[in-house]
């Protein structure tokens, strides 16, 4: 019952948040949405013309999606869940997610999984060297694809039959597959589930937070590059995290300078004109986990489906990655300890 109340509050909160965002847009009349779970849902005058009117009027939105509880039960065997977010595209979310997964799985005693919820642009299969792999179904659900014995991956890329196949889906269909990934994949017992997301603050992000609402999510890693053009989108993502009460583990600044392999001079290809992630973290009181320099071998490794951390372990970028991974592991251990002590108190 306590979980249901908490879920209602979150759905109502997210809907109200979306409406207030619409209100803040000058010149557009606010939908004055009564709220999907209110008595007036679908019936009030302001519901006219809303695409969800029929659904709300039917009462379906008042009932919690049973999948949320099912996902909660399914993921009870997953110790740590980490979302990798940005707001900005092309900053290296998938690159980071993949290498985080590799680094965590380098400890053979840990079970790690990587879930790719970028439905339109699934990069993870290529980056993990799993292009062309297909998903199989068994009695216990969909089997993820294994890179190593202790590293599993799931992506819509495995459900497409050709590299040219486009996933031209609107929001609701994308939400459906995300639900299936969480509920129907046989993840088994995991130490870490890493979720790679697409850029933006839209269906995929709302859905992943909603469907994980009955589980404990350790937090989000925010990826950015140094320029203000990235940071302005990343600040929105951070606001999104705060609004949906998703803790932020820290920020990673990617593409942070380039050292010429010939003359060893550093160039700021993506200049931190507003102080980069360092300034943003200082302003928003967030931990800066590390600054990863540009290294052509990172792009090469991703294209070849290999782990940069194994290919070039002594590079400056690899060392920064390893430090970041250690910070994340420490954060997760502390959060587990806190959760355990909270459970003991009750």
């Amino acid at each position: 019952m306590r979980q249901n109340v908490s879920f209602f509050k979150k759905v109502k909160f997210m809907w109200t948040y979306m409406c207030k965002t619409l209100e803040s847009i000058r010149g557009f009349v606010c939908c004055n949405c009564p709220g999907t779970t209110s008595e007036q849902a679908g019936k009030s005058a302001s519901c006219q013309g809303c695409p969800n009117q029929k659904l709300c009027a039917s009462g379906a939105t008042k009932a919690p999606d049973p999948a949320i509880a099912e996902i909660g039960a399914k993921l009870a065997t997953v110790k740590h869940k980490i979302l990798v977010l940005s707001g900005k595209g092309g900053v290296g979310k998938s690159t980071f997610s993949a290498h985080l997964a590799h680094a965590l799985a380098s400890d053979n005693t840990k079970e790690v999984a990587l879930l790719d919820v970028d439905i339109c642009g699934p990069s993870i299969p290529r980056i993990m060297g799993l292009e062309g792999e297909q998903v199989h179904q068994s009695g216990s659900g969909w089997s993820p694809v294994y890179v190593d014995d202790n590293l599993a991956v799931m992506s819509i890329g495995f459900l497409l039959s050709s590299p040219d196949d486009a996933v031209i889906w609107r929001g609701p269909k994308k939400n459906g597959i995300i639900k299936q990934f969480l509920r129907d994949v046989d993840w088994g017992e995991l130490d870490y589930l890493i979720v790679d997301t697409p850029p933006g603050t839209s269906d995929e992000h709302l859905s992943i937070v909603q469907y994980l609402s009955s589980t404990h999510v350790d937090g989000a890693i925010i990826i950015t590059t140094p320029q203000e053009v990235s940071l302005q989108d990343v600040r929105k993502e951070i606001r999104f995290c705060h609004k949906v009460k998703l803790p932020i583990i820290g920020v990673v600044e990617n593409m942070s300078g380039f050292v010429c392999p010939k003359c060893k001079t550093t160039s700021q290809i993506f200049p931190p004109t507003s102080g980069g992630a360092e300034q943003m973290c200082a302003d928003l009181n967030l931990p800066l986990l590390g600054k990863v320099p540009l290294d052509p071998r990172i792009a090469q490794s991703c294209d070849e489906g290999k782990s940069f951390l194994s290919e070039v372990p002594d590079s400056p970028a690899a060392k920064v990655y390893q430090n970041i991974v250690q910070s994340i592991q420490d954060y997760c251990s502390n959060s587990l300890t806190e959760e355990q002590s909270t459970t003991l108190k009750h």
Binding site: S24, R126, G171, P199, D203, L294, P296
Partner: protein
């Protein structure tokens, strides 16, 4: 909310070009901005419609700040970057009270807003309207096409970086274009090598050759490559006109050449 949009705001727009990718962060907004500036440099009247609702980058790139958006009898008045009204812009970035506020909308709301953008902006007379899109093949892209159906869409340029991870997504975008009947005007490869300003060594930071290979593979025209250029990045950051400040640079030559090829393609269609 889902009534077919009347595209009268586009009645005097000669050509509409979508700037697509499939992959995020390849430089769609940068390329849109630079193409617009290059076309204006060549004497054309240009408009930019920024339909990236979650990450509207163009206002900053053109240094227009956060102006008030007004209405006239024919609809929303776009924001002009200059007194001559040679470059018009409409972006959701103009409509937000707080620039750090996230637009956390599901598909149907995005679709509805894009319908208004397309139908209710009084663009006036334009030679080219460039439509900057977010990455992907989803609600925004379908909404733009559905609402532009009454007006002609000349086609799309696709932006990629050289790496396979990027071209892999752009291949899917090409499929999207084929399925929705959008003509592919060509492929632009961005971040195509970095020439060290100190020793002139060229480093292929994001691999090499992917754009041309993709064009060959898909039977599309390769429009050209734009190198990684810290001066371009800086202009984009500061909202300065790269085409004015660095008109002698190889980067500008590349952009200018691409814009000329694009213009020829539009005029002969």
């Amino acid at each position: 909310m889902f009534q077919k949009a009347d595209a009268s705001g586009l009645a005097q727009v000669r050509h509409v070009v979508l700037v697509l990718s499939g992959k995020g962060g390849v430089g769609k907004s940068t390329i849109t901005t630079e193409l617009a500036l290059a076309l204006r440099h060549a004497g054309k009247k240009v408009g930019i419609l920024d339909v990236d609702l979650c990450g509207p980058s163009i206002p900053r790139m053109l240094s227009v700040g956060r102006p008030d958006v007004h209405q006239c009898d024919s609809g929303w008045v776009p924001v002009y970057t200059d007194a001559q009204k040679s470059l018009a812009l409409m972006s959701i970035g103009f409509l937000m009270e707080d620039p750090d506020e996230a637009v956390v909308w599901r598909g149907p709301k995005k679709t509805a807003l894009i319908a208004q953008f397309v139908s209710d902006v009084a663009w006036g007379e334009l030679d080219v309207l460039l439509v900057d899109t977010p990455p992907g093949t989803s609600d925004e892209h379908l909404a733009v096409l559905e609402n532009l159906k009454k007006h002609r869409v000349d086609g799309a340029v696709l932006v990629t970086t050289p790496q396979a991870v990027s071209t892999g997504d752009v291949r899917r975008e090409i499929t999207f274009c084929k399925k929705t009947g959008v003509r592919i005007l060509g492929i632009i490869e961005n971040m195509s090598g970095f020439v060290c300003p100190h020793c002139s060594e060229c480093s292929n930071i994001f691999s090499r050759g992917g754009g041309e290979e993709l064009a060959k593979l898909t039977g599309s025209e390769f429009l050209g490559s734009v190198p990684l250029d810290p001066q371009l990045s800086r202009c984009i950051e500061e909202g300065e006109d790269f085409t004015q400040l660095f008109s002698e640079s190889t980067t500008f030559s590349a952009i200018s050449s691409i814009s000329q090829t694009l213009l020829s393609s539009l005029q002969t269609a």
